[in-house]
Subunit: 141 residues, 2 copies
DNA sequence: CAGGATCCCGCTAGATACTG
DNA sequence: CAGTATCTAGCGGGATCCTG
């Protein structure tokens, strides 16, 4: 094992983790992570930084404009959390006033692929859901 | 337009909806729908009913066993909501005691494809996130 | 511009008890 | 078995005010 490369150890650890985490289990850390990423603001921030096509870096004020109606608290809070988890990077340029930009990491980009589908699904199937609700409400009225 | 078939009208409506919903907008209904489906329990229920491979129907008690630690309230509440939105069907068989089973609809199955990726992402990248958190906390300590 | 710090309300998750 | 009903503590999240 002493001759194992870093890449090999990493691959080995990945293989282990695939088997050792299960979000169905209440005590599993991945349950909490799933809870964290299952969030409206997380999805929208990741989608904004993921862009329609190419990933792009955005400033705080740009994000708050794109995510219409988000409070500063939720935006800052969610950004901090995503930064801590290594999903995005925060870069402060010491201008006056200071300029801060956010950018997805590779890890964040991989999650963005997932949540992007979620956002699109919501937009695409909104009408169907609305109809189902109306039908259901009429049936149980 | 009077000669339009139902399928044509449906296709036309789909095309319209793709353009008219945008979850980035605060007032858009799809924002609320995104919020609704961005939920730990929604993801886990859909994954359970989606199965590892083939979709399967599950009973209430089976679901509560698979989703370890879920309260009856949250399980029932989430199931009702998903039923109302047309993502799953509830079937009560009048035995004694009554037997109730839940099954994904086609719409639910399409969403399951999305959230399944989310759950897997959380399990696969748990280690990376844990390391990022440790590194970040050490840096800002 | 990009937040930090507080206050505070609403609602919702969770626990408990009961039922057809 | 498959829920319903009720209560409460806790916190998510918005509003507001302040700062480097």
């Amino acid at each position: 094992m002493a001759t194992m490369t870093a890449a090999q150890r990493n691959a080995r650890k990945k293989a282990q983790s695939k088997a050792s985490y299960d979000a169905f289990l209440a005590v599993c850390p991945s349950r909490k992570l799933l809870d964290r990423i299952s969030d409206k603001w997380v999805t929208l921030i990741l989608c904004a930084l993921g862009g329609g096509d190419e990933p792009r870096s955005l400033r705080y004020s740009e994000l708050s404009r794109i995510l219409a109606g988000v409070s500063q608290k939720m935006l800052t809070q969610t950004l901090r959390s995503l930064e801590r988890d290594g999903l995005l990077t925060r870069t402060a340029t010491p201008t006056v006033p200071v300029t801060v930009s956010y950018e997805l990491t590779d890890l964040g980009l991989s999650l963005q692929q997932m949540v992007r589908g979620l956002k699109q699904w919501a937009e695409t199937n909104m009408d169907d859901v609305l109809e189902n609700r109306a039908a259901h409400d009429a049936r149980t009225a």
